[in-house]
């Protein structure tokens, strides 16, 4: 068995079946590197979307916004509403957005508006921070608000938050599907490559068979060939993948806001090696199963 992996110089590349002489090896390597690259992209999609939804929702998840329309804003009402809200169990903070906050919020649309400020009818906005999102707390907040300030509207962000999460999770599912598809395509292509090489080298295989070579002896030749080609392909794929990731993070660092920041933890970095390796394992398994299946047709 150890001989399979030690390549003695006298045996050239050491295949009993001249696999290394067949054209199409480069194509196989190219295809596997492409598949490895795509699998990295798909995995990045899965992990990255997770980060993005977390970033989007973490600010909103535990907060509720209450708006009192401009026409009805009275300082007393705002103060008693704040008092009322703070009494509810589960409410950690209730704050009115001050003038500075509002200016910051509006400036992108209205420019520097301090001078206009006095004349504009500005609604009062209250941000309520809750310990956790559950129906009991949100309904208590709604009831209290209606009692004290009937004209106020409570925005729990529920609707669009859940839409956003649905979208993100849908995209993650698509990424997962793409990932599985990549695995499947790779396995199919490798199985086809092994099958055609076995057909081309039928006479050599038959000879080994007559000499008493076991199925595993013959299969190992193909497994080793596919292992070498996949490792080559996967390495290229990882290189291209890392270059792409590097480029993306460079873009997002230089143009904050255009792309969500993608900072990856150590475990996630190792995922980007593990995923293509999984692809290589998949290829080797496909080669092995195919070779064994073809050999079983021999006497």
């Amino acid at each position: 068995m150890s001989r399979i992996f030690s390549i003695s110089p006298k045996r050239g590349v050491g295949y009993d079946v001249p696999l290394h002489l067949k054209l199409g090896t480069e194509f196989l390597v190219l295809l596997i590197s492409l598949m490895a690259f795509l699998s990295i992209l798909a995995a990045t999609g899965i992990v990255g979307l997770g980060h993005i939804t977390k970033a989007w929702t973490s600010g909103l998840e535990n907060s509720i916004t209450i708006e009192i329309p401009a026409a009805n804003v009275s300082e007393d009402e705002v103060q008693s509403l704040l008092q009322g809200l703070l009494k509810i169990e589960g409410v950690q903070k209730a704050q009115r957005l001050g003038q500075k906050d509002m200016e910051k919020l509006l400036s992108p649309w209205l420019g520097n508006v301090s001078s206009l400020w006095e004349d504009l009818p500005i609604p009062a906005l209250i941000t309520v921070t809750i310990s956790e999102r559950n129906a009991q707390i949100t309904s208590k907040i709604a009831v209290t608000t209606r009692k004290i300030s009937p004209n106020a509207t409570v925005d729990a962000h529920d609707a669009w938050l859940s839409d956003l999460l649905k979208l993100a999770n849908g995209l993650r599912l698509v990424s997962l599907g793409v990932f599985c598809l990549i695995m499947l395509v790779t396995a199919t292509v490798v199985a086809g490559a092994v099958r055609s090489r076995m057909a081309i080298h039928h006479r050599e295989l038959e000879l080994l068979h007559i000499m008493g070579a076991s199925d595993s002896y013959i299969t190992n030749q193909f497994v080793r060939y596919i292992l070498v080609q996949s490792l080559k392909g996967v390495s290229f794929g990882i290189l291209i993948g890392l270059a792409t990731l590097g480029l993306l993070s460079l873009i997002s660092r230089n143009n904050p806001g255009t792309l969500p920041e993608m900072t990856l933890s150590g475990a996630e970095w190792s995922l980007f090696v593990a995923v293509p390796l999984l692809l290589a394992i998949m290829a080797v398994m496909a080669a092995r199963i195919t070779a064994l299946r073809v050999l079983r047709e021999m006497p």
């Binding site: 003695s8 006298k10 050599e204 070579a213 076991s214 199925d215 006497p299």
Partner: protein, 233 residues
């Protein structure tokens, strides 16, 4: 050692190439297999080296009924059989050395021992100087010696040769027969398919004669022809 009982062989839906063949090869015997071209010599050989399963009948090999053996067990039995093919079937991308080493590697011998064995045998057949050349660059006679070396390297119990002298001149052919005689004296069971009268006449071994799918056995030393059934040769 090998026992055929009512063995028949057909290819696909064609006629039976071999029908109802019954004979026994005892250990250490030497046989010629003869018959006109197309009589089924190569087909019978392929049954002997367990390269095919018969379409009917049973083949006992080394004391085991091959019909009942798994593919793994059959592979192990084949390691006891050396074959010299009519067209040699050397692997053209491998050096003479690697071609001859193949059976030992398949049997799982370590590389150091393999090297020693192969070099010794190649020296013995007179190819010590060109063991790293590829077969297509060598003459027909040299290729045949590689084929012979490959067939005998693993010290097989049964050696089969399919028309080994077919495309060689008589002198080399007779030398080869001398080699087979020597191996036979050391205990190897030998079956040689041939239609060379020169060889047949010069050696007294019993003949398995194929004709119309039937096997007849002729023993020159007793000069009697017996028809198949239960003949222990």
């Amino acid at each position: 050692m090998i026992k055929f009982e009512h063995v028949g062989l057909r290819y696909g839906i064609g006629p039976e190439v071999l029908s109802d063949i019954t004979f026994t090869l005892t250990s250490g015997s030497f046989h010629f297999l003869c018959g006109p071209s197309g009589a089924g010599k190569t087909s019978l050989m392929s049954l002997l080296y367990l390269g095919r399963r018969p379409t009917r009948g049973t083949i006992q090999a080394f004391g085991q009924n091959t019909n009942l053996l798994s593919r793994t067990d059959l592979a192990a039995l084949r390691q006891n059989i050396g074959v010299i093919f009519q067209d040699f079937r050397l692997l053209p991308h491998m050096s003479a050395f690697d071609n001859v080493a193949l059976p030992l590697r398949i049997n799982g011998m370590n590389e150091k021992k393999t090297k020693a064995h192969v070099e010794e045998l190649l020296d013995w057949v007179g190819l010590g100087d060109c063991m790293h050349r590829l077969p297509p660059t060598m003459s027909g006679g040299q290729q045949q010696r590689i084929a012979v070396a490959r067939a005998v390297i693993a010290n097989p119990k049964l050696l089969l040769a399919d028309e080994p002298t077919g495309n060689l001149d008589d002198e080399i052919g007779m030398k080869l027969m001398g080699l087979f005689e020597q191996l036979n004296k050391m205990g190897t069971t030998i079956v040689i398919a041939t239609h060379s009268l020169q060889i047949l006449d010069s050696l007294p071994h019993s003949r398995l004669i194929l004709e119309n799918g039937q096997l007849h056995i002729f023993n020159p030393s007793t000069s009697s022809t017996t028809i198949k059934e239960n003949v222990d040769v």
